[in-house]
Symmetry: C2
Subunit: 489 residues, 2 copies
């Protein structure tokens, strides 16, 4: 076997074992008996040790030196393997193990602290997580910027400085739009109680409408919805709050967007370094365009309005216009995951600035609550009422995920670009959406983007799909047009 063939065979088994890890994570969050947590942590640790040894196997370094790619896909696979190997071998085993231990503990302590609104209980472990991730970032950065080094895990090629510049261009237009909207009368919200069975029936219908393939996936309940898996086995989850059915429906469509990317990758790439979504930002572009540009459009919400009445009987909302307005209600709430399309990005910008300051050492863990609360009130014109609605709302920092948050807004920006390109090619898009038929746009996304997996770098993936260099313009124009019409601005 050539060095290249050895590399690919080794990567294939590693990917198969990584799939097993993913399956355990899915099980833990959907099926696992609650008394099995301790045993499961030992199982995960044993499998993680196997994976870590494989990922830092010195033979990979030797093969990478000698490997010659037979084609473009081979070149891309080597690019992914080189990046991963360099990253994994720069982190000492001792540090990797310590990070795994402390972030696992961090998530447990965070969950308890959030339940009790107890920031003080969270700070000691947060300090440890920050210190370890700074140390890891220094090892990976090799003299470069620490925050940039961490961003590469989620969005290869991105930088803190470029992201900050883009956010600076976006913020004034989002703030201006937000203020105009909040000066207008708020639309009537959806009211009522919608039983779980009916919500799940309609969620399955929505998933099918968006092309989710149940022969290679399944839909289950969980606390925080997620999508897990690659290729032939990509499972999605949702949650049900009986008084808030949009929560179930739109989190389902969101996860279907992630799943479509993973289910849509060319089967020839299965278990190779190209056989999965290329970055968090590109992944989020798929979940967001499914959820927002398509799922929350006037045309598609008209169809959802009919489906809801068929499932649940008459609603308090009189017609499809009122229903569309309720689905897209703008509201300065505390919680990121429940935010509308405008406020969502303000949440992200705030977390991005805070976590960059943390990595640079400009603020420390003990300053974070004050910094959060000041910034939130400045951006949202509302004071945080309790830590569970503020600093303690998201799991990310307890798990050491610094550098992850900006990929959410990057995903929105990319979704804006993809939608502009897609809509330009489909003058009759709305006619299909109004019938609940999403075949044309989802086929376009699969052909232009999803099937290529990690063939191209993230930004190049979007550019190849759109046919133009991505920036924040299309997202902002889409938001101004959509909410301008909805709120009569």
């Amino acid at each position: 076997m050539t060095a290249f063939e050895n590399l690919m065979a080794h990567a294939r088994d590693t990917a198969a074992l990584d799939n097993v890890m993913t399956r355990l994570g899915w099980d833990q969050r959907t099926m696992m008996p609650h008394g099995a947590a301790h045993l499961r942590s030992e199982e995960l640790a044993a499998l993680e040790t196997v994976l870590h040894q494989r990922r830092t196997d010195p033979r990979i370094g030797e093969w990478l030196e000698a490997a010659e790619a037979p084609d473009d896909a081979g070149t891309a696979a080597l690019r992914e393997l080189r990046r991963a190997y360099a990253r994994n071998t720069r982190v000492p085993d001792r540090l990797a193990a310590e990070l795994a231990r402390v972030t696992a503990m961090g998530q447990e302590i965070w969950a308890e602290a959030r339940r009790n609104d107890d920031v003080a209980a969270f700070l000691p472990i947060l300090r440890q997580v920050i210190a370890l991730r700074r140390e890891e970032a220094a090892a990976i950065a090799d003299g470069g910027d620490l925050y940039d080094a961490l961003m590469q895990d989620y969005e290869p090629g991105a930088s803190g400085a470029e992201t900050a510049a883009m956010f600076d261009r976006m913020r004034p237009r989002l703030v201006a739009l937000r203020e105009k909207i909040l000066n207008r009368p708020a639309p009537e919200p959806l009211r009522g109680t919608f039983p779980q069975d009916g919500q799940l029936r309609l969620a399955r219908k929505l998933a099918e409408a968006f092309g989710y393939d149940f022969a290679h996936g399944r839909l289950d309940l969980t606390v925080h919805p997620f999508c897990a898996g690659h290729g032939e086995d990509v499972r999605i989850t949702t949650r049900v709050v009986e008084t808030e059915p949009f929560n179930c429906f739109y989190s389902t469509i969101h996860e279907v967007g992630h799943a479509a990317y993973e289910q849509g990758v060319d089967p020839a790439y299965a278990l190779s370094p190209l056989g999965r979504g290329v970055s968090m930002g590109v992944h989020e572009s798929q979940s967001r365009i499914y959820e927002n540009q398509l799922g929350r459009s006037r045309a598609f919400t008209g169809w959802v309005f009919d489906q809801m009445q068929a499932e649940f009987g008459p609603l308090n909302l009189q017609d499809a216009e009122a229903f569309h307005a309720a689905v897209n209600r703008v509201h300065a709430g505390y919680i990121r995951t429940e935010a509308d399309e405008i406020h969502y990005n303000l949440h992200i910008m705030m977390r991005f600035d805070l976590e960059r300051d943390l990595l640079r050492g400009e603020i420390e863990a003990e300053d974070l609550e004050d910094a959060w609360n000041l910034r939130f009130e400045a951006d949202f014109s509302v004071a945080v009422d309790r830590p569970a609605n503020g600093l303690l709302q998201d799991v990310h920092w307890s798990a050491g995920l610094f550098g992850y948050f900006p990929t959410y807004t990057l995903g929105n920006v990319y979704a804006g670009c993809l939608f502009k390109a897609l809509a330009a090619e489909m003058p009759d898009l709305d006619a299909g959406l109004a019938r609940g038929d999403l075949g044309t746009p989802t086929a376009w996304l699969r052909e232009k983007l999803q099937r290529h997996g990690a063939l191209r770098e993230p930004r190049a993936t979007i550019e190849a799909a759109c046919g133009f260099t991505p920036d924040e313009g299309p997202l902002l124009e889409y938001l101004e047009a959509k909410f301008g019409a909805l709120y009569g601005l």
Copy 2:
């Protein structure tokens, strides 16, 4: 670390990874999307390679030579590790991989052949399976008997000759009992349709009554019920046929018996070589005593009769006596898994004789269908009507599981012994059973047997629990007394 400590740490991680394999098997049979089979086989193969390397790691041999056990549990752990290491290192890697591949294919071909009643389609792969298992048995046996060598995988310490001698002592009394019963009028069977929801509700109630711990397990639907896992995470499965509710109820109780053993092992043994049931025969003693001696007793079926009426309304059976008779109906059916307590053992004896002849080379795959059909008609006085009701009914041989079948009857024999000992200590056993209260007998089994895991060899496990040397006498006396009363013999 001492050699002993190294061994135990290594075994602990191997056990954790083996648990992961078990969890994948559970997922495959309960949750996996049907289109994921190909990907899953690659995941299983990657994990199996990791496990095989660990199990044949030459360091185990070195540690075993130097290890000194600190206590009795340590001595027992070394006994288990020595047996496993000797077995695993005697089988060449090439043969192990070939067996894994051929038996996986064998099970697929068997399932298709059974659907089509097509013995000819099954014979070529069966021939390969037999040849490979003979080769493996020769490698393990090290000059000894081939069938005995294979039995050790399921029942350490058992031998074909001893088993044959015991079966020869049992057969005449079972045949005599069977003939007397079949000359009596058959009791009225349960009739009607029992919806799935109600069956599952009652199955959960039965599982709870027998002490199944849902905080460390769960109950799901599958095609062929099984129990999977050890310690903190032991999951059971059942199936529902709406016209045959006893199928669901008694397969649930049976799997609860297996689960009770695994959930009941001393937590100090978790992930050690002692942290699981010691053999298939001892395991089956637990599932059988739960299902039969306790679950099909006159006292307990009286409670089940009440529960069924509460769930489903009036039954065609007039009273608890008629219900008990229906639950214990004796019938010379084709299918082992649906057999009553008497015919079940005749099924096993037949398979045992056939597979021993196969291993000795006295018959070959192509003789098997004729041999099966002749023997079945001789033992059951009924001609096999089609291969799905004959040779093709069980998965075992397609998977290479020669030497496994006799452990089912050995489990019945052990259950007979345990019940004799248990009943002698509990004069008021029936009073509890009649209330659906199984606390006393299940606590006795946990204390005397389940909590010890693999501390003692299989036969010694039963002897320590019963206080006498186990043999077939108590089972035969129990069957003669129970069915004598039921059929007025």
